[in-house]
Amino acid sequence: MSKLIAEGSEWTFQALEDFEREISRIASDKYRLDTYSNQIEIISSEQMMDAYSSTGMPIGYHHWSYGKQFLSTEQRYRKGQIGLAYELVINSDPCISYLMEENSLTLQALVIAHACFGHNSFFKGNYLFREWTDASAIVNYLLFARNFISECEERHGVDAVEALLDSCHALMNLGVDRFRRPRPISPEEEKERQKEREDFLQRQVNDLWRTIPQKETEPEDAHPRFPSEPQENLLYFIEKNAPLLEPWEREIVRIVRKIAVYYYPQRQTKVMNEGWATFWHYNLMNDLYDEGLITEGTILEFLQSHTNVVYQPDYDSPYYSGINPYTLGFAIFSDIRRVCENPTEEDKRFSPEYAGSDWLDTVHYAMANYKDESFILQYLTPKVIRDLKLFAIMDDDADSAISVTAIHDDYGYRKLREELADQHNLSKQEPDIQVWEVALRGDRSMTLRHNQRDRIPLDEDDTKETLKHLHHLWRFDVHLESLRDDKLHRVYHCTDQKVWVDAEKGGQSQKSD
């Protein structure tokens, strides 16, 4: 049995290399995981805290909020309230994974399987990451951002830059085009467009048109509304249209916006990404054991860590803090495999698309083409619902009590699926706020519109604070109309001097068109 990679709990660089090689072999030969090349960096716990506070980026511009993050992590870590993650991985090419020096040999192997192959292949394969991020350019872009911002600090003062960044950060989540993505057009489409253009030109040259007498039209649309359509990407809108921003300020807005875009896929694929990585570290470690490359002691230590990672406290437990994305993702991916390999009657009824098909093809397909919301909607099976004992509640402030709307029974499966998917749908979880109108010919004030979903209002205090930040960028009055069932419910105003809310302009109905 000299095949063993290493024994004991101390890791060595040789052992890390061996693990990487063996796992890489299994991952690509047996499971067809396609990854960026790996760059493993060993860091100390203090450096891990540094990495935490810069949201995992190897290079970040300076900002007090990162200092705050660092201080709170440090405090909680020192008091033993939190452990640090075993690893941190960056969506870049090569894919950088940070491993903590404190990890035992087993943990390092787990982390290599988890981060260097699980997350790495997800970054490379998932459609959101492919569309939204450019792994090879991110590190350079961050470097540029950092240098640019520190130059600005030198030139315009730290305080001015800080105030600007504060404002941008407040609107960061609204710096993404959620609904529209430019996509490459196909040759057919291109041809069609060309034909349209030709037709148009053809019409232009037809001399007959000139002979038709022109009607005297009232210039009713002499003052077209601006923006012509509501805009959801606030930061983009500000970058392009804020009247008084200096060029360097626009560039900083752009930097924050770009970084927001970079994080957007991660925020939408927490369950899938962690589930995928957990699913693979579980399989890969078991394969290492089956091949006799690791000892029983190692696999047992691994199983213990793995169990901790996928632990899901019940809703009434003091440890409960939401649904654990590791648990949910791992459960779903594992169940895809089960449904493919050993489908039951229920599975055939419930998931006819893939029951009994090749499991490896199916998980790869799922990984590449879904995000959390659609993934849950497609692959959450009754078995997972039963295992986790999921139930849905509805808390309606018009009702005197909370009602249970679905549990894990035949009636509830589909409903739970939908509701859990909604719960992971960013565009439903975040308030829907758009730029509605800018008074170009008036006081240049900007009006935003918020459409309440299920009568859920905005948090008043934070909304006021955030509006101040928006005002700081726009530099003219800002109004925010919150609509409940297409009727004005609250109107927030922010001027140079103050922020206030007008409550319920009762009955004054304004149809949004």
């Binding site: 860091i43 007090w64 705050k68």
Partner: protein, 420 residues
């Protein structure tokens, strides 16, 4: 597939240092309040640790647009035990979102304060800030930089004054043995052969005698002491505070001293104590408070108990003299004294005070600092002390203090003297 393992442990430890400073700068006001609080709460002998600072979460939050409470909220939760569809659950009272609503995790953590640790360095920085200490003095207070020389082995080079005779001779002897051993052996062999030859004069004998003569000369050529043998004592600098010091804190606690004045006085005492601690191995503090009569008290009582009545300053000076003579002989203790008062004194008493100072106290002490905390013009005591300044310019200082920034000049003379 190509891959790389990089060991980053050695580099870039303080990556967040800048961000940390930015944070501290931004919340300076809060932190300073907390530090001031801590200074007032702590014992003056206990200023050299960091402090846990808490800031209301509200003040440091980074706002974003997000949904508030109300409306129709849907949640999916794990771990169902007893519920079936259609069950109705009463809203939990009090808690935000409540145990039934998953919101509890997002909003209801119950943490209203953002808590973090200020390290000692930062703590002192904030504490000194409004004292307006020059940077060099801050540094002196923060790191101990007084050294004493201790023996640390021997060197081959040095100044003659440090020559170590024993080591040098020992080395010389060893060298002589090492170099001379072979020659001596040779001499012995020659002598033996000579003895064997007997008295008979012969060619061989003459030859042996010649050889013996030459070898003996060789032995004599080995020097008794060579440059090579010299050893010098090596002295290394070891950072050590020198000896012991006692600090007398004298304060007027008569009715006219308000808490504000006392707090200001406390800053002054703290600063002196920190300074002493840097320079002396052992520091003790004696608290003497007085109104018409003086007592030795503990720190708590010193700063926070209230007394009323008139003021007889000389009582405190008498008591200090007694204590110093009994417990702190000047040959083993450096005595420092700091007196804080609002300057009011019984009119007849002031001349007595200055006499006490000049005759009995100032000869004992290293330094005597008097601060008068008053916003008006000079008081009784000030005028009495004024004369003393001229007699003992190097060990007596007095200042009028109106606000914290005025405290430092009192120390300036002291620091200047110590740092040269």
């Amino acid at each position: 597939m190509a891959f790389l393992i990089i060991d980053r442990r050695q580099q870039g430890k303080q990556k967040s240092a800048v961000n940390r400073q930015r944070f501290l700068k931004r919340f300076k006001k809060h932190i300073k309040e907390a530090v001031t609080d801590a200074v007032n709460k702590r014992s003056i002998t206990d200023m050299e640790r960091g402090e846990e600072i808490s800031i209301p979460k509200k003040d440091i939050s980074e706002p974003i647009f997000h949904s508030g409470k109300g409306g129709k909220q849907h949640r999916v939760l794990p771990g169902n035990k007893e519920f079936v569809r259609g069950d109705r659950i009463d809203r939990p009272k009090g808690g935000s979102g409540g145990g039934g609503g998953g919101e509890a995790s997002n909003q209801g953590e119950g943490m209203d304060e953002f808590v973090f640790e200020l390290n000692q360095q930062e703590f002192l920085d904030f504490m000194f800030e409004d004292l307006e200490l020059p940077n060099m003095v801050r540094k002196q207070l923060k790191d101990s930089d007084s050294y004493k020389l201790v023996k640390g082995g021997y060197l081959k080079e040095g100044i003659p004054a440090r020559l170590n005779v024993v080591q040098s001779l020992r080395g010389a002897k060893a060298r002589r043995i090492a170099l001379g051993g072979a020659i001596k052996r040779e001499i012995r062999a020659l002598e033996e052969e000579l003895d064997e030859l007997g008295e008979m004069a012969s060619e061989r004998r003459r030859e042996l005698e010649y050889q013996l003569e030459r070898t003996r000369r060789r032995l004599n050529h080995i020097p008794f002491l060579d440059d090579f043998d010299l050893r010098y004592n090596n002295m290394i600098q070891q950072p050590t505070p020198t000896t012991s010091a006692v600090m007398f804190c004298l304060m007027d606690v008569s009715g006219s001293m308000t808490q504000d004045i006392k707090d200001l006085a406390k800053r002054f005492f703290v600063l002196l104590h920190l300074f002493l601690k840097r320079h002396y191995e052992k520091t003790e503090v004696v608290f003497i408070r007085h109104h018409t009569k003086a007592d030795e008290v503990d720190e708590e009582e010193f700063f926070y108990s209230r007394e009323t009545g008139g003021t007889v300053v000389s009582s405190a000076l008498e008591l200090m003299k007694t204590i110093a003579q009994e417990r702190y002989p000047t040959d083993s203790w450096n005595i420092y004294a700091a007196q804080a008062s609002d300057g009011e004194n019984w009119a007849d008493d002031s001349p007595k005070c200055s006499e006490l100072l000049v005759k009995s106290l100032l000869p004992l002490v290293q330094y005597y600092a008097y601060v008068e905390i008053s916003s008006g013009k000079e008081q009784e005591l000030w005028r009495a002390y004024d004369a003393v300044t001229d007699q003992f310019p190097d060990r007596f200082a007095m200042r009028n203090v109106k606000e914290p920034a005025d405290i430092f000049p009192v120390f300036r003379d002291l620091f200047e003297r110590k740092s040269t």
